[in-house]
């Protein structure tokens, strides 16, 4: 199993030791086009990694229309520099654009903006409470476990999938692996929702795109009042009931991406079908990364 060090910021500061210590280095953004590093810096890193014999992965977000062509040009230049780069796609339009412009990478990976499971919902068990076992298992599996999608994505060089670390995904991982996908598992933090209108920019009273320094750290959120609207549009804020409190609705807002911590300890995960573990530098300290990695390596 490989370990991936991920820096999702336009400022990329990766040390030689980090390059030595990890198998894959990735940069870019899952959520925001404005968080992508300058092409010059990306190319410099790509060269360093090639010399060091390490893998390089570029993460792409959802892409509003006006940023499509600049990003396709960026990708084209990056692939020209290093044809072994893998690219993570969170927007099917960008994937289509790469195919159309003949700049598909040799290895495309579907990111968490597309690869999803119902289990990402904090209250999935409650919603699925009355469903049959087969329906439950089908609904909570990763949505990429689908022969139709697999055939479709093979035309786009899709070879890998990114997944969240959740307790009921072992069957899904096994099935996706049988389909031939490499599975890349995110350590600890689960993506819950992505937005186009950025909450963090508004919270800091900044405007997009002058806000890129505001989301280097997450904003921790703890739900306090429920917002309800009755059938006549009358709205009110009510206290959370005990059942909801028990679910502990706490989230972390990272820019325009809402996340939550996984409820499973890493020791409980079966890593048999996992190709790599992704460690996000914004969310996991260096000490924790090394402790985790050594823990896995020592079984």
């Amino acid at each position: 199993m490989k370990f991936e060090y991920r820096v999702l910021d336009n400022s990329i500061d990766i040390t030689k030791k980090q390059i030595e210590d990890f198998d894959i280095i990735s940069i870019g953004s899952e959520g925001c086009v404005h968080k992508i590093a300058e092409l010059k810096k990306a190319i410099t890193l790509s060269r360093e990694l090639e010399i060091a014999g390490k893998e390089f992965s570029f993460i792409t977000p959802k892409v509003p229309q006006k940023y499509m062509q600049p990003l396709l040009t960026y990708i084209s230049k990056l692939i020209n520099e290093n044809e072994n780069i893998s690219i993570v796609f969170n927007d099917l339009g960008l994937l289509e654009g790469c195919k159309h412009n003949k700049v598909l990478p040799n290895k495309a990976i579907i990111g968490r903006g597309i690869s999803r499971t119902f289990e990402e919902c904090l209250w999935y068990e409650h919603i699925l409470r009355d469903e049959t076992d087969i329906n439950k298992r089908t609904i909570i599996q990763n949505n990429m476990y689908d022969t139709n999608k697999s055939e479709f994505f093979s035309c786009y060089n899709v070879k890998g999938i990114e997944c969240n670390m959740l307790k009921n995904q072992e069957e899904s991982h096994r099935n996706l692996s049988k389909m031939g996908y490499e599975l890349n598992l995110h350590y600890r933090y689960i993506t819950t929702a992505f937005s186009r209108a950025c909450q963090t920019a508004r919270y800091f009273k900044s405007s997009v795109p002058n806000c890129t320094d505001k989301c280097r750290k997450g904003i921790e959120l703890n739900m306090k009042n429920v917002w309800t609207r009755d059938i006549t549009l009358s709205t009110e804020e009510i206290d959370m009931d005990m059942e909801l409190k028990k679910l502990n609705p706490r989230f972390i807002l990272m820019g325009n991406v809402l996340m939550r911590k996984t409820d499973i300890a890493f020791e409980q995960i079966n890593y048999n079908n996992i190709h790599s573990i992704i460690l996000d530098a914004r969310l996991v300290s260096s000490d924790e990364m090394y402790t985790f990695r050594e823990g896995i390596r020592n079984g």
Binding site: D130, N143, Y145, W227, T228, D241
Partner: protein, 316 residues
């Protein structure tokens, strides 16, 4: 210029009658299938957070289609369940039930279906179901290349996500022969195709609308609705929507009381009708205020600035 079409939500025979009378040109709905208990093959659970039934039985579903066709109104089946795929054991039970749900609706005479998952869309192509297909907002389309990808998969209409600029709508409408639809009333904070804050999903625990909830922010003394980017009303922006080349506007509201949702349809229908006569939108709004009790609208949308397509400063 084609008249902008209104697609309205229907959750019962009575609501269908009211929506048609109020000026809906298209309606969308789903019928109860006993294959799923709390969720459904549509994008909603069987009941909403307000305990409103979002679906009707098959007999009423057939009656609604007959009524709609009699009034020259098109009917779309909400078949936009956002999850699907092979069964974990390798079979295709869920997909087979989904197809059966659609075939029954075709037998009843629907004019089109709304699809919300790429695998389901490819499946429909494979099983040779040739009806009008709308790609739901669950596809999370952000750009023209995604629209063109859907066109290759025989989609006829694409419903864009809630946060979109007029410039973007126009850029897409100008480059495709497919119909483009946008939301006119009510809205989400997140891109629906990526959001796991499920509600209106037959829940018994009251989550409300989670993205509009108040949150305690770590390191900040205040509690606020920090995630709430929901935009609710596009009435004042109808001229720009029409100008962009969009073909239809979609109303949300299978979870609402039919009297309310049909009033919303009436307001938009009246505004569109008067706009086509060349009247100014602000003049039309004043006319509406004299025709109906507009106080609920002012209170729920205008006074709290729940305007759609109005402020793009936080758009990425």
């Amino acid at each position: 210029m084609d008249k902008l079409s209104i697609k309205a939500p229907v959750n019962s025979l009575t609501s269908a009658k009211m929506q048609i009378k109020s000026g809906a040109n298209e309606i969308y709905l789903s019928y109860i299938s006993d294959k799923i208990k709390n969720l459904s093959f549509s994008g909603r659970g069987k009941t909403s957070i307000n305990k409103v039934q979002t679906q009707m039985n098959y007999t009423d579903f057939c009656k609604i289609i007959e009524l709609a066709h009699h009034n020259n109104v098109k009917v779309e089946l909400a078949a936009n369940v956002p999850m699907s795929g092979d069964s974990p054991g390798g079979g295709h039970e869920f997909q087979n039930e989904y197809i059966e749900y659609i075939r029954e609706a075709i037998t009843a005479g629907i004019d089109g279906i709304i699809v919300g998952d790429l695998g389901n869309l490819i499946l429909l192509n494979k099983v040779d179901i040739s009806t009008h297909i709308t790609a739901s907002t669950f596809f999370g389309v952000q750009n023209l290349f995604h629209v063109l990808q859907l066109e290759k998969l025989n989609v006829d209409k694409v419903c864009l996500p809630h946060h979109f600029t007029f410039e973007e709508m126009k850029a897409i409408c100008d480059k495709t022969s497919m119909d483009i639809e946008v939301f006119a009333h009510f809205g989400c904070s997140f891109i629906e195709s990526t959001c796991s804050l499920y509600h209106h999903a037959s829940e018994k625990i009251d989550f409300g609308v989670p993205c509009r909830a108040n949150f305690k922010i770590d390191g900040d003394d205040t509690c606020e609705n920090i995630l709430d980017m929901g935009e609710d009303c596009a009435l004042c922006k109808l001229p720009e929507i029409i100008e962009s080349g969009v073909k239809s506007i979609k109303m949300i509201g299978r979870e609402l009381d039919y009297k309310l949702s049909s009033t919303i349809t009436y307001v938009y229908s009246y505004a569109i009708q008067e706009l086509t006569k060349g009247k100014n939108i602000h003049f039309i709004l004043n006319e509406l205020k004299n025709k109906i009790d507009f106080s609920f609208w002012d209170k729920s949308f205008c006074s709290i600035k729940r305007c759609k397509y109005n402020d793009f400063s936080y758009y990425i």
